[in-house]
Symmetry: C2
Subunit: 709 residues, 2 copies
């Protein structure tokens, strides 16, 4: 399975101890200990990326771990391995870095703290390690004091730092402008705790005046609080700000223990940021012996009509529910409950007809009448369906059509309640042929005072993920902490939301450039269940009271299946809307969800991204281009194709009249024969884009009559 190739060379610390170069020599990392105070700096091709920056911790009721250190030992080594993910943007990933381990001892306290740096050809990862020791066993972090001293007032693509949500539009501004723009950047959410005018979230995307792209994030967030960054608008120093617990503490630690990795990816080319594997490589290999049960999923769902307000999750309109007491059998239905037998059968039929493997059904279980915003502890039992949802009948009906239902576990943030039911709920799934669950954490967290991104809930998401694996269940957690590459270790984490998804198009809309930024930010940590594929962009067509518009053209919606990488892809619109555009819908049916190779053909954060990806195990390629609010022309060639093979390309593009506001449905579809020499110059409408399927044809005759591009 795995081609491993490791050199481990130990060199005298005096010689190399404080400097490290990347395997290709492009990056240089300096570790310094000045008067006992540790710091690091990073440069790329001689250009400083991170200037000398502090390292360490403030602790609760203990002396800090910031100064008074001496170097006990330093070790450098090299690692080079190629590994194969269970699913991914490419079928094999090289993990190649030089490593510097600095072992520090605080002389006044004899406490030990190590810092491990890994320098890759595209950036840096480092973490703190607390080895087993006598003087520092149990301790509580008041704050991590990791700095990223930037070289200037870079352009930043940012969302407000918040302990409970990432569901914000991105603001593009200079670092110095962040405090002044914070108030308008904080838009309403079901649960939100912005903490500072200077606070932003990671992955933070930056661009320098010299055109260098920098990305700062974290990898392998386990049993620790999610990191935010506090921006100093005068010095451009970013400093870590961990998510606190109910008492304002940042982390309960027991040695031996490591922190997550802090990552800095940098390049002169924006595409290199998108293709970097640093986040995955800094995570551990898969923890599971058997991963054969983990498979990418293309699905539809009974969902969008509730999001838009056309239908309801709830079966009745009673003001409050007590599970086990409220009598749903004899309750008056509100007549708007979408998760009913007839509708779900219709979705199953549609999925079977068009080749989707699963059908998500939200609102299937009792408790939705007062699920939200009540700080209610026992909201759902994850076991009891509404009277109009026949679990066994629908399970068997789906089975008969070669389709599975996808489970939905909304928790309303009540983590205790979910954990109490977890084994029963997963067993119920196993008993009823479900193998994937979309979990949700809408609203404030219970235990009250804890937040979505604190150590407590990070522990909970991990618990749910590993518990699900015991039942061979794949997890797609919404409103959970944003991913940090954990899907390498726990590949049943096939999706996350943890950002402003398509649902917000029905809640007032996303900015037209939203999907040109997400791959540089949220997706650095892992795939997103963005739920694209909305063909009807006028929400009043579904719900007269909903004046929202989806800020996109249909062509761009298709492109998102390529540009928003995920092994879990939804066709989010209603079947009847797809049936009005089956020609365009064909791309959604054709597009792959697992890949051998991914290329970035064009990319500029905030403006556009064009990907080409080769389907895993075939010679078919898919190209996607997402565009911002400007009219732009995309120029790509097809040199990635094999000159010995014959391909037919189907281009789904905006037509001349297309515009996300005035004519979102203006698309055209054209077929060509393409070769490595082919070139395309394609207009992209405001809020538009294009998608191309490039299918290998075995028989040249299939290209008869097709123009060569």
């Amino acid at each position: 399975m795995k081609k491993t190739f490791v050199i481990l060379l130990l060199l005298p610390s005096i010689l190399l101890g404080q400097e490290l170069k990347s395997p290709n020599g492009k990056f240089s990392l300096q570790f310094k200990l000045e008067e006992g105070t540790p710091s690091y700096e990073l440069s790329m091709s001689g250009e400083p990326i991170i200037e000398p920056s502090g390292l360490g911790f403030e602790l609760v009721d203990m002396p800090s771990l910031l100064s008074d250190f001496e170097i006990k030992n330093t070790t450098t080594s090299t690692f080079d391995e190629t590994w194969e993910p269970v699913w991914g943007e490419s079928s094999s990933i090289r993990n190649h870095y030089n490593e510097l381990l600095v072992e520090l001892e605080q002389t006044s306290t004899n406490r030990l703290m190590n810092i491990r740096f890994r320098l890759f050809d595209d950036g840096l990862g480092f973490r703190y390690e607390f080895p087993e020791q006598e003087k520092l066993v149990y301790f509580v972090i008041q704050e991590e004091k990791t700095q990223f001293a930037l070289t200037g007032d870079h352009k930043a693509f940012w969302i407000p730092g918040d302990y409970d949500t990432q569901e914000y539009n991105y603001t593009t501004s200079k670092l110095s402008e962040i405090p002044g723009l914070m108030d308008e950047a904080v838009t309403p959410n079901a649960s939100q705790t912005p903490f500072s005018k200077n606070g932003v979230q990671t992955a933070l995307m930056l661009k320098t005046d010299k055109g260098i792209y920098i990305n700062i994030h974290e990898a392998a967030l386990v049993e620790y609080a999610c990191i935010h960054l506090e921006v100093n608008p005068g010095t451009f120093v970013l400093e870590s700000h961990l998510t606190p617990d109910a008492q304002g503490k940042k982390g309960y630690m027991q040695s031996p223990r490591n922190t997550p990795w802090r990552t800095v990816i940098a390049s002169k080319h924006a595409g290199d940021i998108l293709l970097s594997n640093i986040t995955l490589n800094l995570n551990e290999p898969t923890a599971y012996e058997d991963t054969s049960w983990i498979k990418p999923v293309k699905y539809i769902g009974v969902w969008w009509e509730m999001i838009t307000g056309k239908s309801s999750w709830a079966y009745t309109d009673v003001p409050s529910v007590r599970l086990g007491e409220t009598d749903f059998e004899n309750a008056i239905p509100n007549g708007r409950h979408a998760a009913n037998n007839e509708k779900v059968k219709r979705y199953i039929d549609f999925a079977a007809e068009h080749g989707f493997s699963q059908v998500l059904v939200e609102g299937w279980n009792v408790g939705w009448e007062d699920w939200f915003g009540k700080s209610k502890d026992y909201v759902f039992d994850f076991l009891t369906p509404y009277p109009d949802f026949d679990v066994v009948m629908l399970r068997d009906y789906a089975k008969s059509k070669g389709v599975r239902l996808m489970m939905h576990h909304e928790t309303s943030g009540s983590a205790r309640n979910y954990e109490r039911f977890m084994d029963k709920a997963y067993q119920f799934m196993a008993d009823n042929n479900y193998n994937s669950v979309k979990s949700g954490y809408v609203g404030n967290i219970i235990p009250r005072g804890e937040t979505h991104y604190g150590q407590w809930m990070v522990n909970h998401y991990q618990y749910a993920l590993e518990k699900a694996a015991e039942y061979k269940i794949m997890v797609n957690a919404h409103e959970a902490v944003r991913p940090t590459g954990l899907s390498r270790t726990y590949p049943n984490l096939i999706g996350n939301e943890s950002a402003r998804g398509t649902e917000y198009e029905a809640f007032g809309g996303n900015t037209p450039d939203h999907t040109t930024i997400l791959p540089f930010t949220r997706l650095i940590g892992g795939p997103m269940d963005y739920t694209p594929g909305i063909f009807e962009t006028d929400m009043t067509k579904l719900n007269p009271d909903n004046k929202s518009r989806v800020n996109t053209t249909i062509a761009r919606q298709l492109a998102l299946y390529v540009t928003m990488y995920s092994p879990l892809q939804m066709a989010a619109d209603l079947p009847e809307h797809y049936e009005q555009h089956l020609d365009a819908f064909q791309f959604i049916k054709d597009v792959a969800i697992d890949w051998d190779t991914s290329l970035v053909l064009e990319a500029e954060p905030g403006d556009y991204i064009t990907y080409a990806r080769k389907e895993k195990g075939t010679n078919n390629w898919f190209v996607g281009r997402t565009n911002d609010e400007e009219t732009r022309t995309s120029n790509i060639d097809f040199s990635f194709l094999d000159k010995d093979k014959t391909y037919v390309a189907t281009i789904y593009s905006d037509d001349a009249t297309a515009h996300y506001l005035t004519n979102p449905k203006g698309y055209k579809i054209s077929k060509y024969r393409v070769t490595p020499k082919s070139k395309l110059s394609q207009m992209c409408a405001p809020g538009g884009g294009y998608a191309i399927s490039i299918m290998e044809v075995k028989d040249k005759s299939e290209t008869k009559g097709l123009k060569r591009l």
Copy 2:
């Protein structure tokens, strides 16, 4: 099973609406609504017990529920039922009260709040009820404002109000002296959160200058925060103070919902307080169909030698443990681990020889090396034994001797971790022939910021209790919230600690009058696992470093089996100590743990208590007398005996030289023939007392040579 006899009479509210008398007319309750503000007052035989006292709530982010009410309706009714507890101080209990239901509406908000008063022949219970309604569905209590306006500066038997512990010695003082005595009353504990100089806990025992005894407590504490009382030292008004959550809120409510009952028991005779069944009667009938699996338990345990410091719970001396990673098989044992196969077999042999049904073993499972005071989340898995504890061998060995092991689940306060393992842990018990568990909550609660007595943990204890019942497991929860009569509804709650138990005799000692107060305070809510029976009172004999002395004589240790009612009684000392005094030990072997009848022959809180109890299903009686630090003479008669039966009494008393400090082992044992005409005048040493077993003999010849008392 149950003899029920109910009259329900509805009377016009105008007539009786605001006044209520007890069935015997002794107590009178006045409800008043003055200018929209509700209040109540209580009198006994014309004497005021509670003067006009306020009722209501302050709410979070809502107008308060204190004033602006109008009476919508009042209803009175009478209830009279006799029921049989699964276990108890008597085999049948009469539940006889008159009830007044006052239905209130807050005119400005149209919110509904009812108050239900139940007046018994020995006192009052009342609670708030929030009926199903539109205007008040979800709400958060900032504070309950229930007052108990006392008539003067009564003598109080109190412990400091505290969110985390009741393990304090009692202070006896005037109400007005409480603030001045608070600091010295707050002695150290593993987890403690005293909240005010004026705060005391319930059950609060009071005595007026006129010699009236008053007890204030609560009944049926479910899904609500534990109540404390704030004493106004000038006005003698007590006001409710609920235990807050991590955010300082007092209770999350959803209508329909009732609060627990607030109780006031009063009498001119101290014994009536001890015999009152108000707390049990205000709880619901048993929730379980089948209670045949619930049985009183007399047990010994591998416990006291760890408490005294002779042995350790931990198997090794490693500074920190990671379950699943720490290798105990190859670890170096510390040589002091008590829960080892040989020792447990010795205890099993002793239990079998002397008729104990169970053997508690603490420290059997991995994790004790760093279990305590580390705010450690994953402390125990409740499944994995230390290498020197063979679960299957010991299970089978015990079975072969007709004995069961008693499970121990120490949680270190980590409630999340316990809930995650609960099903597995109880299944493990069922698989290994355990049917009872002693659970422990030492240290601060996790989720951090929650406390032992807040709504969060009250919910947890209840969850554990009902989950245990699914596995037919009896629960004895230590460091949990003090009982409130819930054992009527959930009779598998066979024990609680929730007060300063015998263990503190090895932690510096309990006051000599401690056990003359506990029955008037802690035991009002339910039985306590006090773990009496210590024969070796000099701790240096077990551990030279432990200078503590058990402040008792041996005779009094025997008496506690009668005076400290519990269906779960431990013989807490080491087998070798009992073997040195097998004559005295005979009483512990003989004494019953379930009763047909209980009588109080003498009682004065802080001075002495003498109980006589008839064993359930036999004609044997047991008498126990606990004495404070004074030399006192107890004068009792035996008129409770049946004149047609023949009895032999064995009196275990202090001898002339006995003293809890100078000669705790000075006891004598004498046998007599006793009849209803018999009288006893018995000297009780300081810290002493006596115990009497009165066995019916079928054949008069068995009394041959015995003097008649």
